[in-house]
C-alpha cells in the first residue's frame, strides 16, 4: 500500500520536472534564436494570403501538367519500388531480430544493430552521400529511400511479430514444425495486415521524401519542383504541390481499402 503510494508520488514529481525542463528549453531556445512568438503568429495571415495569390495553378501552369505527371509517376514508381524491395529484406531481418522468431542471439543483435544504423541516418544524408558514388540519377534516389525504409520497417515488423505471434510460434514449434513452416504458416498469416499497413505508410512517406531526395539528385518530382521554383513560376509549383497531396491521399485510401479486404 505504502509502496504504491510512493510510486504514484514519484511519478507525479517526475512529470512536474519533465514539464519544467520542457518549458525551460522552449524559453531558452526563444532567447537564443531571437524568435518572437508574436511576430511569428502575426506573419501567418500574410503567408496564407501570399500562398493563395501565388500558388493557385493558373491556366498557363496547367500547360505543364503532362510534364508534372510524368515526373510524378517516376517518383511514385520509385517510392513503391524502394518500399517493397526494402520490405522484403526487412521481413527477414525482422524475423532474425525478433525475440520470438530469432535463430540465435548473435544474429538477432547484428540484425538489430544494422537496422538501427540504417534507420538513424536521415534520408537526406543518404542522398548526399550516395550522390557522390552514383551521381545525379534515379539509382541514388532509390538507394537513399531503400536504406531508410529498410531500417524503419525492420523495427516496425519486429514489433509486429513480437506482439502478434508469440503463442502460435510456441504451438508450431511444439508440433515439430521447421523454422520456415513456422514463419510462413504461423507468423506471416498473423501479422500480414499489420505489416502491409506499415508498407503503405512507408510508400506515402517515401513519396514525400522522394520529393526532397529528387531535389538533391535531380530526378522525379523533386527535380521539377526545384526547376519551377527557381524560375519563380509559383503557379506551377502550386500545381506540383497539389498533385503530391492528391497522390498521398489516394494511396492512403487504397491502403485502407486493401487492409479492409485482407483483414
Amino acid at each position: 500500500m505504502n509502496a504504491q503510494f510512493d510510486v504514484i508520488k514519484k511519478k507525479r514529481i517526475q512529470m512536474t520536472i519533465i514539464l519544467l525542463v520542457m518549458l525551460l528549453i522552449v524559453f531558452g531556445a526563444k532567447v537564443l534564436t531571437d524568435f518572437s512568438f508574436m511576430e511569428g503568429l502575426a506573419s501567418i495571415p500574410g503567408t496564407v494570403f501570399w500562398m493563395f495569390t501565388n500558388l493557385i495553378p493558373t491556366a498557363e501552369a496547367m500547360e505543364n501538367f503532362p510534364k508534372v505527371m510524368e515526373r510524378l509517376w517516376e517518383t511514385i514508381i520509385l517510392s513503391i519500388l524502394a518500399t517493397t524491395t526494402a520490405g522484403i529484406f526487412a521481413l527477414f531481418f525482422a524475423l532474425f531480430g525478433s525475440k520470438t522468431t530469432k535463430i540465435n542471439g548473435l544474429l538477432a543483435l547484428l540484425s538489430r544493430v544494422i537496422a538501427s544504423v540504417f534507420r538513424n541516418i536521415p534520408v537526406v544524408a543518404w542522398a548526399l552521400v550516395l550522390v557522390i558514388s552514383f551521381g545525379h540519377n534515379v539509382v541514388t534516389g532509390y538507394f537513399a529511400l531503400f536504406f531508410t525504409t529498410f531500417g524503419f520497417l525492420v523495427r516496425a515488423f519486429m514489433e509486429t511479430i513480437d506482439e502478434a505471434s508469440t503463442d502460435s510460434v510456441e504451438a508450431l514449434n511444439a508440433t515439430g514444425a521447421t523454422y520456415f513452416q513456422m514463419v510462413f504458416r504461423g507468423v506471416i498469416p498473423d501479422t500480414l495486415p499489420q505489416m502491409l499497413s506499415w508498407v503503405f505508410f512507408m510508400i506515402d512517406t517515401n513519396i514525400r521524401s522522394a520529393t526532397l531526395v529528387g531535389l538533391l539528385t535531380g530526378t522525379g518530382i523533386g527535380y521539377i519542383f526545384d526547376l519551377y521554383y527557381k524560375r519563380l513560376d509559383y503557379p506551377t509549383v502550386g500545381l506540383i504541390t497539389l498533385s503530391i497531396i492528391v497522390v498521398v491521399i489516394v494511396i492512403e485510401l487504397i491502403s485502407n481499402k486493401v487492409r479492409r479486404m485482407i483483414l
Partner: protein, 279 residues
C-alpha cells in the same frame, strides 16, 4: 476443511482404475533427476523423477510458480532442461540433435491455456498444422497435405464435435471451441503423449467439463498418455489415474487420487492453501 474436497469420497469410489493396472503397460515417459534453473541461485525444478505408462492420465498440481509449466516444457525441450534424463518412447530427449528433436516433438502433442492457434486461419488449417512435424519444409509452406491427412483432420474434428466449424476462422470461435481445435491439432499428430498446460484455466465450468471429458476419452479410447497441469484440485481428483504434487520445483506428492489427503494438499500448496479456498 477445504470445500474443494467435499465431493472427494464419492469420486474415488467411482474410479475403477488404480496404479496396478498400468504396471504391465509400456513406459512412455521416464524422467530421472531432472534439474532446471534459469539463474544459478534458485532452481525452478530439482530432482524430478517420474514415470508415465501408456494410456495413463496423470495430473500435476501445485501452487503458482511451482514449476508446472516449466516441467511440461522440458519434456519436449521447448525449455532446455539443465540436467537430468528424459526418456520418451525409448529415446533420450535431452541429447537429441535439432533435427531428431523435431521428429520426437511430432509424437508429442501439446495443448495450451491460451489455445495458441493462428487466429486468422481457419479451424481446418490450424488442425493440419499438427502434421508439420512429418513434412518437408516446402510441403509445409505450400500447405500440401495428402488426402489421408485431410481425412484424419476431419475425423478428429468430428469426434470433438467441431466438424461444422471446419471452415470458420479461429478468431470467430468461443474459448471452449478454440480449445477443442487445439486438442484436434495435437491429435492430428497421432501422438503417444499429450502435454496439456492448464487446458481449462481460461474456460467456464461447462466448457471445462467438455474439454476434460474429451481428454479423458482420448486417453481411454486411443491409449494416449495424458499429462495435464491443473489448478483445480477437484478436477485433478475426478479425472486422474495418478496425481503428482509439485511445490517449489520438487515433487512433494505422488499417488492415486484417493491418497490425496488434506494433509498432502497442505504439503503441496503450503501456506497458499487458504488463498485457494477463498478463491
Amino acid at each position: 476443511m477445504p470445500t474443494i474436497l467435499a465431493e472427494k469420497t464419492e469420486v474415488y469410489e467411482k474410479k475403477g482404475k488404480n496404479k496396478k493396472e498400468f504396471q504391465n503397460s509400456k513406459t512412455i515417459l521416464k524422467i530421472k533427476d531432472l534439474y532446471k534453473s534459469y539463474n544459478i541461485k534458485t532452481p525452478v525444478l530439482s530432482m524430478i523423477e517420474m514415470e508415465l505408462k501408456q494410456g495413463e492420465f496423470v495430473s500435476i498440481i501445485g501452487p503458482s510458480g511451482a514449476g508446472k509449466s516449466t516441467l511440461l516444457r522440458c519434456i519436449n525441450r521447448m525449455i532446455e532442461p539443465s540436467e537430468g534424463s528424459i526418456v520418451f518412447d525409448e529415446t533420450e530427449i535431452t541429447s537429441l540433435s535439432k533435427k531428431a528433436l523435431r521428429g520426437e516433438r511430432a509424437k508429442i502433442g501439446m495443448v495450451f491455456q491460451h489455445y495458441n492457434l493462428v487466429s486468422r486461419l481457419t479451424v481446418f488449417e490450424n488442425v493440419l498444422h499438427g502434421r508439420f512435424g512429418y513434412k518437408s519444409t516446402l510441403k509445409g509452406i505450400l500447405s500440401i497435405f495428402t488426402e489421408e491427412e485431410k481425412q484424419l483432420a476431419l475425423e478428429i474434428l468430428d469426434k470433438l464435435g467441431m466438424k461444422e466449424f471446419a471452415y470458420k476462422r479461429c478468431d470467430q470461435l468461443s474459448g471452449g471451441q478454440k480449445q477443442r481445435v487445439g486438442i484436434a491439432r495435437a491429435l492430428v499428430q497421432q501422438p503417444k503423449l499429450l502435454l496439456c498446460d492448464e487446458p481449462i484455466a481460461s474456460l467456464d465450468p461447462n466448457s471445462s467439463k467438455v474439454i476434460m471429458d474429451h481428454l479423458k476419452e482420448i486417453c481411454e479410447t486411443m491409449g494416449i498418455t495424458v499429462l495435464v497441469n491443473l489448478h483445480q484440485v477437484d478436477v485433478a481428483v475426478k479425472y486422474s489415474d495418478r496425481i503428482i504434487g509439485l511445490n517449489k520445483g520438487r515433487v512433494v506428492f505422488e499417488g492415486l487420487p484417493k491418497e490425496l489427503s488434506n494433509y498432502a494438499i497442505q504439503d503441496i500448496y503450503g501456506s497458499e492453501l487458504e488463498d485457494l479456498i477463498v478463491e
